[in-house]
Symmetry: C2
Subunit: 281 residues, 2 copies
């Protein structure tokens, strides 16, 4: 790895398109930063895969980004953040590795009035207790209820975002949580980067009293803070390039991305890469 | 590869659990056959992946099964059957390779009174025109309408099989097809091995006049015919073993399998294997 230089891009990876909600937030907070985004579309989704596999996939994605020289690595996937931050950080001690679970947990503790926090995420993230543990570390008296909602990933990708039918599906999935509203569940963490696409439906179902927390913005703020502290903010005029790498299907990526990303992605901006052959320790 | 022996198992692979509906049919038709089933749960689903990736994954799955000695290979996944049968057959000319698309197309042509056939499948299978081409080869005057229903895969895996809400979701997805009922769509092919789990909901939505075709049984019949012709039927008394290989998460596989497989799968029967490192031509 070359020495870190403020002109280098921030590397961002996700299992597929969901992390583009984090990319949006990074773009908005730091429009002058160069970014490389990798979507592991060849193996998406991660949320129903085992921790062992998710760590391996994360290590391969990180290797592909680091090969291209980056100054900071953002794991923009909750499932991977839940299990792979520590292994990645010890593999690459010179590089700051940041996930979305920590910032999401922090944000939920900040906004939660009474510490009665719900978390919705993929099966793998919930099983891992990542959010539960992170929230309880910050607020040991919090009460945390986590609910897997794997179906939301497919809904978000297929463009089923709102409307009466979507709200009925969301209500059915959230039923174990809504039955707790009487116990003053006051905050709900959207613990999967796909879920902001369903935000309005989730909000309708949960009711106005429940604050929804999406870790994208707080992650972007944490990344900016880290770059400032390490004097790595890009000061080159006219920077702000974004490049995309995918491990499968650039056409589908460009199409499904419109459900998650604020800018249009042109096909020639997307490079197809193979990362499955990377040997990881 | 050793010489083919009738005592060898039939190799069956699928992207995950869906192919277990084909395994059911094989068990029922030929209870004395040994079977090895491989579910590529590390990369499931195939239905939203590119043809290039699906062919590569199929070649790696086939290599893992052939390494274990099999007498016939069944591609129990519609998406892989749509693109990988020819590449696999030319890679392994001594071994009979059979998919589910051919038998499914054949069955639909047999039962369709007027040749107005609908096909529901994953995005990748539909895009590939696999069923459309196979049906038109058998009945050039047929009219074929294909509709991607990727959402059904998640519904089937999450155990959302029946009930009023499931029927509403199914109705919404099938709307492009049901609007054709007035044009006498008489047959509907369930062109994804996950879809039989939703059979009753699909049938309710399509109405009694539309015959549903599930390729599992016709595939099993075609496999039996091929084994008889090549004198490879297992005549060893007391055979009928079933082994399972998965590329990720044996626990999840055993749990989700109950939605698709008639027998209970015990965890020790499932072996975890890594096939991603297999170099394919």
């Amino acid at each position: 790895m070359t020495e870190l230089d403020s002109n280098l891009p921030i590397g961002v990876f996700d299992s597929g398109v969901g992390g583009l909600t984090v990319l949006n937030a990074l773009r908005k907070a730091m429009p002058n930063e160069n970014l490389i985004y990798l979507g592991d579309t060849a193996r998406v989704p991660y949320g129903t895969k085992s921790s062992v596999s998710v760590v391996k996939y994360a290590e391969q994605a990180a290797a592909a980004l680091i090969e291209r020289d980056i100054k900071l690595l953002v794991v923009a996937c909750n499932t991977a953040s839940a299990v792979a931050i520590e292994p990645l950080q010890s593999l690459y001690p010179q590089l700051k590795v940041m996930g979305v679970v920590g910032p999401g947990a922090e944000a939920s503790c900040k906004v939660s009035a009474e510490g009665r926090i719900g978390v919705i995420a993929t099966e793998s993230t919930v099983k891992n207790n990542a959010y539960q543990d992170a929230i309880l570390r910050l607020n040991p008296s919090a009460s945390v209820t986590a609910q897997p909602c794997s179906l939301f990933v497919a809904l978000a990708e297929e463009g089923w975002h709102s409307g009466e039918l979507v709200e009925r599906i969301v209500a059915e999935c959230l039923q174990p949580l809504t039955s707790q509203v009487s116990d003053h569940l006051d905050t709900l963490v959207l613990g999967c980067t796909h879920f902001p696409a369903l935000k309005s439906a989730i909000s309708h179902v949960m009711g106005d009293d429940v604050v929804l927390v999406d870790s994208a913005e707080t992650t972007a703020a944490a990344v900016e803070k880290s770059l400032v502290e390490s004097n790595l903010i890009n000061k080159q005029p006219g920077a702000g390039d974004v490049r995309f790498l995918v491990t499968d299907g650039p056409e589908r990526f460009a199409r499904v991305a419109t459900n998650f990303y604020d800018e249009e992605i042109q096909l020639p901006e997307i490079q197809l890469v193979d990362i499955q052959h990377f040997k990881v320790p």
